[in-house]
């Protein structure tokens, strides 16, 4: 089969869609609704620091952040191509979208792990 990168990006896009659909609503509910409205007691900074210091939590946060970024990158790339009719700049757009996802993933890897 002819080698090209589309299936690779699409796999990350699909995985990112699944991960963000599962976890982001929970995070939005907690940090955006439940904590501000006082439904749930806000965990202290020290407690959060303690949670995030365990390895499985760090890996989970990294996976959520990174895959969600790749999901964004793929979708935004097609939005620019087709929504804004910028097919002529497809190389620059692909580098910008996936490049930012990779850059921020690397940074979050550095911060978390």
């Amino acid at each position: 089969m002819k080698k090209h990168s589309e299936p690779f990006w699409w796999t990350l896009f699909g995985a990112g869609g699944a991960v963000s659909a599962l976890f982001l609503p929970i995070l939005i509910f907690l940090t955006g609704i439940a904590f501000p409205l006082g439904w749930i007691e806000v965990p202290s900074y020290d407690l959060l620091q303690k949670w995030i210091s365990i390895w499985p939590a760090r890996i989970l946060v990294f996976v959520i952040v990174s895959l969600s970024l790749f999901h964004w990158a793929h979708r935004f790339r097609f939005t620019l191509y087709e929504g804004l009719q910028l097919q002529n700049y497809h190389k620059i757009i692909a580098i910008f979208c996936y490049g930012s996802a990779i850059a921020v993933s690397v940074y979050s890897f550095y911060v978390l792990i």
Partner: protein, 248 residues
């Protein structure tokens, strides 16, 4: 009793007499049991014999009478006038295709794409089954039956914004039909079709807008077929990436 009427604004394009298409209005009887195709036939028979359009079976089987009705691709034989009362109803040729004349579109591109995906049973040995026929269980039939219901009406191409922007895109119906043969247990042509469809003009151009499945009059769900194809394509890709020595 005076008959209720409804106005049809019909797209006209007669290349020998006008450079740009125009809309022409016709008043037709608004009958409860009439579909848009009946109204067009009424125009052709009683009001204006020069109107050109395709139709054949009048019962949603032949796939010839697809047109844009008030901006949506539909089979005109299955779309009742009553739904649009008091009107007017705008009838146009299927979008995303060149127009030959009036409501008749040029479908060569679609026919070429259909042929390209090899929509027939491929056997590696070119042999039929041992008893001269292939045995297939009802559950094996059920695997692909939905995709075999396509009547090639091209409504999905007309609804697909990607096809509108990228004319090279193989498109919903052809990919769904490829999937119909891939999922047939008698077929052994998956690899050949994957070769064709894992290219840039194949499955990867689809951005899962999903309009093809919305407008499909036969509930084929081409969008679903393409997503399943992508999963298969991605699996193949990762296999050949992680195990380059393995045969596909």
């Amino acid at each position: 009793m005076s008959q209720e009427k409804i106005t049809l604004e019909v797209f006209r394009f007669r290349p020998e007499q006008e450079d740009n298409p125009v809309f022409q209005s016709y008043e037709v009887p608004l009958r409860k049991d009439w579909v848009v195709l009946d109204a067009l036939n009424y125009i052709k028979d009683y009001l204006d014999g020069t109107l050109s359009y395709r139709w054949s079976c009048r019962m949603g089987v032949c796939g010839s009478c697809g047109m844009m009705v008030n901006g949506t691709p539909v089979l005109t034989c299955a779309t009742f006038l009553q739904k649009f009362a008091p009107g007017p109803i705008r009838v146009e040729p299927l979008s995303n295709f060149p127009v030959v004349r009036d409501l008749v579109i040029e479908m060569t591109d679609f026919m070429e794409k259909l042929k390209k995906v090899k929509p027939w049973i491929i056997r590696k040995d070119n042999q039929e089954g041992p008893e001269g026929e292939f045995i297939q269980t009802p559950s094996q039939l059920a695997d692909y039956k939905q995709y075999s219901m396509c009547i090639n009406c091209m409504l999905c191409y007309s609804a697909c914004p990607v096809y509108g922007l990228e004319p090279g895109f193989t498109g919903p119906a052809a990919i769904a039909l490829a999937q119909r043969y891939n999922m047939d247990n008698r077929d052994e042509g998956q690899e050949q079709r994957m070769e064709l469809l894992s290219t840039d003009d194949g499955i990867w151009q689809c951005t899962f807008v999903g309009e093809c499945s919305e407008v499909c009059p036969k509930n084929v769900d081409p969008a679903g077929a393409i997503q399943r194809y992508k999963v298969a394509g991605a699996t193949d890709w990762w296999k050949s990436f992680l195990m380059p020595w393995a045969k596909p």
